[in-house]
């Protein structure tokens, strides 16, 4: 499975490579510092369901026992809405893990959400566009059984 997909993706990317170079809508490379990786483990305290990008506010406990709120950048809410996801899928108090990189201005407690998961490692959202692909059907069924979006 892995090997086949690597080859197939290679072919797909060979096509897509021809589309570069690009100017990204909001260049993450200009916003975030790839030399400042972070991992946040904490509770959601707020969700900004706004364009151009969603922002998830996470409160983490620091080593000195004090807490700090970080803002994590996600994609446009339009895609999530189209997939039938709601802002109440991420209720305050939910524990999550965020992997990402801090904003280049290190005085800001902001980061991108390169990988956002629940504490058991499952992704907080799923769904690609209703492709009906087997992996999607199975995963969505499992999620619903857990009472998750």
């Amino acid at each position: 499975m892995k090997k086949r997909s690597t080859i197939a993706v290679g072919t797909a990317l060979a096509l897509l490579v021809a589309a570069g170079p690009l100017v990204a809508h909001h260049a993450f490379g200009a916003e975030f510092d790839r030399d400042a990786p972070i991992q946040l483990r904490g509770q959601i305290v707020k969700l900004e369901w706004v364009n151009p990008h969603t922002w998830i506010h996470v409160e983490i406990e620091k080593d000195d026992g004090t807490s700090e709120v970080w803002m994590v950048e996600g994609g446009t809410p339009n895609v999530l809405l189209r997939r039938g996801l709601r802002r109440d899928c991420l209720t305050p108090g939910t524990e999550i893990i965020v992997d990402g990189y801090q904003a280049k201005d290190h005085s800001l407690t902001r980061a991108n959400g390169k990988d956002i998961t629940f504490t058991d490692g499952t992704k907080i959202f799923l769904g690609s566009s209703g492709t009906g692909a087997p992996y999607e059907r199975e995963m969505m069924a499992a999620r619903r059984a857990q009472g998750r979006c």
Binding site: S5, R34, D35, P37, N78, G121, F125
Partner: protein
């Protein structure tokens, strides 16, 4: 009995006639008899604007399967459960090998696939699976720059070279400033951005066509009728568009496009138009679910020849949502503050 049989026969003939008419005209029409282009549409696709080297225009069934399965596998991999005891990502960033993705993220990884809706299928135009949206020049790539085009490019680079790319908001791309669509969504020509929200709503009357682009909420107003163009010096975003019908095809001719608007973005055919730009678009509804969208870009002060492309617009089974880009544009602040922070770190290093 005879009469009723005659009526039955007449009804049958009428039904057959109605059926024949329906079979000849498979597209919905407005009350004035024009093809009805209204509704929500999407041009999302994984087919790039510019063709890669060594590939023909029409893909084989095997190539299509490999591409689309590859895309599905790529998404599926991103949905795999992460190790809950994982470490933070590596210093120096992570690069995927996908040029578009890596250029956009600078190695910071972007975000999970559930935020992305890039287009999971190859574009199929008139039954042909395509390797590029550009069909002319024949190699699917933009023509060379004209002599004037090269001179203007040099002048532009010299001008831009006087300023830092992050000196102020005005130096940032229009999309980042929430002024114009990402890539070339609004156009013309209207092309996918390969990330998300490649959706359009078309509203049609006898004398106007309005096309709303979801990202970033740009609305084109196309007047239908005898062309009364704007004076040369007035050059609005998305230009001055006039439409007319050629049979069942809506033809839109656009000139006077704003010189700062980048056309055919998200590809190495992207360019800023000159005062000579003319874009001709042809929209033909071919069935319930498809509009064939063709475009021709002619700008002799940029390119040494025309660019022609073909893009299927598929019916969107869903709604468009307001892309209120100024609502929470923290990213602009982050980008500019990031540049100031890097400058301060550089000063300290010195």
């Amino acid at each position: 009995m005879r009469i009723s049989r005659a009526i039955t026969c007449a009804s049958a003939v009428l039904l057959m006639t109605a059926g024949a008419i329906e079979a000849q005209d498979p597209i919905p029409r407005t009350p004035d008899g024009r093809p009805d282009l209204q509704g929500n549409w999407s041009n999302a696709t994984m087919t790039p604007i510019v063709r890669p080297n060594g590939v023909g225009l029409v893909l084989t069934a095997e190539q299509v399967t490999a591409l689309e399965e590859g895309r599905q596998d790529f998404i599926a991999q991103d949905y795999e459960i992460s190790d809950p005891d994982r470490e933070a990502p590596p210093e120096g960033g992570e690069f995927t090998g996908n040029a578009i993705f890596d250029a956009a993220t600078g190695g910071t990884g972007g975000y999970n696939q559930f935020f992305v809706d890039a287009g999971d299928v190859v574009a199929v135009f008139n039954g042909e699976p395509r390797s590029s949206l550009i069909v002319e020049p024949e190699n699917g790539r933009p023509p060379p720059y004209s002599e004037e085009g090269r001179a203007r490019l040099r002048a532009r680079a010299e001008r831009d070279g006087q300023f830092g790319a992050y000196d102020n908001p005005e130096n940032r791309p229009l999309a980042e400033r929430c002024i114009m669509s990402f890539g070339s969504n609004a156009g013309p020509p209207m092309l996918p951005n390969y990330f998300y929200n490649n959706n359009y709503t078309i509203v049609q009357t006898t004398d106007h066509i309005a096309i709303m682009t979801e990202m970033v909420h740009d609305v084109r107003i196309i007047r239908v009728g005898e062309r009364r163009p704007l004076p040369d010096h007035i050059r609005p975003w998305m230009g001055d568009s006039w439409g007319h019908w050629e049979g069942d095809t809506l033809v839109i001719e656009t000139t006077n496009i704003h010189p700062e608007q980048v056309l055919m973005g998200m590809s190495n055919a992207s360019f800023r138009p000159s005062e000579a730009i003319k874009v001709t678009e042809r929209l033909t509804r071919v069935d319930d679910d498809t509009i064939n969208y063709e475009f021709t870009v002619v700008d002799p002060l940029v390119f040494d020849g025309p660019i022609r492309g073909e893009v299927p617009f598929e019916r969107l089974d869903g709604l468009l949502y307001e892309y209120a880009c100024h609502e929470g544009n923290y990213a602009m602040e982050n980008v500019l503050r990031g540049a100031r922070a890097e400058e301060a770190r550089e000063r300290e290093r010195r």
